[in-house]
Symmetry: C2
Subunit: 420 residues, 2 copies
């Protein structure tokens, strides 16, 4: 049963994650893994490990035939791809935590794995210690996955929680997140949704065999979500979550996006507060499954890296079953979405994009409406991402056919809604 | 990548789970599995499937060389073991949902798997659709698992939730559970903790490489838990959960039990209400991971069976890594437990078993105390399982050394506590 190999590791990066991984491996002989060499940028810096362990020459690790696993934990996505692709071409297995790199290069990374017959594991790149990739790949390894919705970014979730619970303005909530280390000093990647987009891109590969690639998913972050939106949510017995969402429609195609979304107070994603992550998986028969834990931070990330290293001892590799062994899923933009639009000025809103308006409210302080928009119109326009407009997806947002809607539209027209 | 075999199945049992599995397999060609024959007890009964599919002769399935997978979904643990062991000896892979059979025969089942080089999968036997076995086996496949605590029985959890939320007496809550189909008409197996004990027995094998076997874990159910206990819990800002618990102590050995336990309102297990199940896993660095979903019922159970069948297409088998590839864990009874004892009559309580009493209260209506007991004393005595006594483990119950306690004991003795 199992091969239980001895692994010789080369590490790239020795920040908090890298040092954590190094320390545990040293303390845990049962993992049967030893670190032979660590490649770092700044060779002069003092480290908590013997000096001779370090080098600033990537080739020293990548060309060492004794090193059979490269563990890549650096920030620079381009450099990471160079390292990871060279390592695989040199016949080494790779563990990585670089979500941006993985999201942007999935097609090439799949080829590299095939060509070189090596493992490439990256559980740490999404939801840190929550084993979501493995479970999608191994347990939900069939056509029975109905939908998956998730909070995959801790920074934005912390900010949203503060806006909601403490009624803070966005900028104060962001400042608090930064002070507590839950947001970067340059928070753009998190706040504007890029980090969640990256994670969701490769999670879709494991969930549905979809590689969004250069043709990006529809996404935005929480940069325009503020107190008034939270107040609206509270009135509707909801909270707001930056929700990564995918669902198989009746026509068999997959609807997917990363957008702020209302979530009912009794929904599992409402339970995901502060810096935590959570994933809700719905499959045939199984009802809802909920996976919850810390989605970021050095220790949870190190833990996921260790689990990947541990799995390599048994020659574990992702099979990408949805991609290779099933008819891969296909993204569709042909459906309708019910959304809330908060705004300060009507001129920022392209009202003509909407099929119908179901509810609207406008006075000195509060301006919003709830309407139905075709997803492809949303995808092709950008006004809803601009400053002064906040788009939040309804708690039950998907409309596959329009019959009912057209009726409502007419009724609202009759009611004299014009919004000007 | 992967073999993706065609599976030919023989099913034992055609109750709600069996029929669900049969239906989905028929509707989902991508699962590449077909049901050749179904063995049932009552051949005369009308079924929603072609008549020629059925037989009441086990041998027809077990001796059919074309059938390569036996799916066992029957109630009788002894018959199940006969079927499962014959199937494995005949070179067939087996998927099973029989927790009692698995708990009682783990050692033999391990031998059968080794000897016959076949897979034996049973994710459905614990927490139904929550993939807890797989995650313990694959993801937490190293020495870094600190503790695991879980609600693994939906019936008792439903009853406890009702007692707590609606302040129902135990027997009314049980009746409601029965009326809603969350408890059997003969609820003993659930209510007295046997079902949870069985599940926990084999989960410990996957978590720590421990096979409790005939030497049972310390356990009881919720048969003596009632309103007054729930009121005490509420005062302490806790709920009560029938908690399956295991933790690696400082000496490297494992403390484990299945007992009613106070759980802080903000603890993840408090989130597990009604018929749901939940598992909290703590590992080095990863903080807490929480897995949540429906733990029983025909559809969640069928879903887990389907995932196991699906995994067989890729030759998946449990490696029992903690048992075979690590130093297996060892159970210990040498630690102390802080417990609450509710009682109606002092004569039911063996006060001498306790190292110290920290709190006590006794009047016309309410009688309880909180004390510290050596776990081996608890294990060897039975008075705390008797009618009229309710033992509930503290929210933070484990005491590995006694120094502090002895002081408290003395102070209580000085305070004149005698309880008579």
């Amino acid at each position: 049963m199992g091969t239980d190999k001895k692994l010789v590791l080369g590490l790239f990066g020795f920040g908090v994650v890298g040092e954590g991984v190094y320390t545990v491996l040293g303390q845990t002989p049962s993992l049967k893994s030893s670190v032979k060499k660590v490649c770092i940028k700044n060779i002069g810096k003092q480290r908590n490990a013997p000096k001779e362990l370090f080098t600033d020459q990537a080739e020293v690790l990548l060309n060492d035939p004794e090193i059979n696993v490269i563990v890549e934990m650096i920030d620079d996505a381009d450099a990471a791809f160079q390292i990871v692709s060279t390592a695989m071409n040199n016949g080494k297995h790779v563990v990585s935590a670089s979500k941006k790199m993985i999201a942007e290069h999935m097609a090439e990374l799949l080829e590299l794995q095939k060509k070189n017959k090596v493992s490439f594991l990256y559980e740490a790149a999404c939801c840190a210690s929550i084993p979501v990739i493995r479970n999608l790949e191994e347990y939900y390894d069939n056509d029975l996955l109905h939908s998956i919705s998730a909070v995959v970014n801790g920074s934005t979730n912390f900010i949203l929680t503060k806006i909601f619970q403490e009624k803070l303005p966005f900028k104060d909530a962001l400042l608090q997140a930064q002070q507590l280390g839950f947001a970067e000093s340059n928070p753009t990647l998190d706040v504007e949704g890029w980090d969640a987009l990256n994670k969701w891109s490769f999670l879709l590969t494991h969930a549905y065999g979809i590689i969004p690639g250069k043709e990006r998913l529809v996404f935005t972050g929480i940069q325009n979500v503020d107190k008034l939106d939270a107040e609206f949510a509270a009135k509707k017995d909801c909270v707001i979550r930056l929700t990564a969402f995918a669902k198989k429609l009746n026509n068999g195609k997959v609807a997917a996006f990363v957008l702020p979304k209302f979530v009912k107070q009794d929904d599992l994603l409402a339970f995901v507060k502060n810096e935590y992550n959570g994933v809700v998986i719905e499959s045939s028969f199984a009802d809802k499954q909920f996976f919850y834990g810390k989605g970021a931070g050095s220790l949870p990330t190190a833990s996921a890296v260790l689990s990947d290293i541990s799995a390599l001892r048994y020659d574990y590799k992702y099979e990408y079953k949805k991609l290779y062994h099933h008819e891969p899923g296909e993204l569709t933009n042909d459906f309708y979405l019910k959304v809330y639009i908060g705004f300060t000025d009507w001129r920022h809103v392209v009202k003509e994009d909407f099929e119908s308006i179901e509810e609207w409210h406008s006075n000195d302080k509060v301006n919003y409406f709830v309407g139905v928009i075709h997803f492809d119109k949303l995808r092709k326009s950008t006004w809803w991402k601009e400053n002064g407009v906040s788009l939040i997806v309804d708690a039950d947002p998907l409309i596959e056919s329009l019959d009912v809607i057209h009726m409502k539209k007419r009724s609202l027209e009759l009611a004299g809604f014009n919004g000007d």
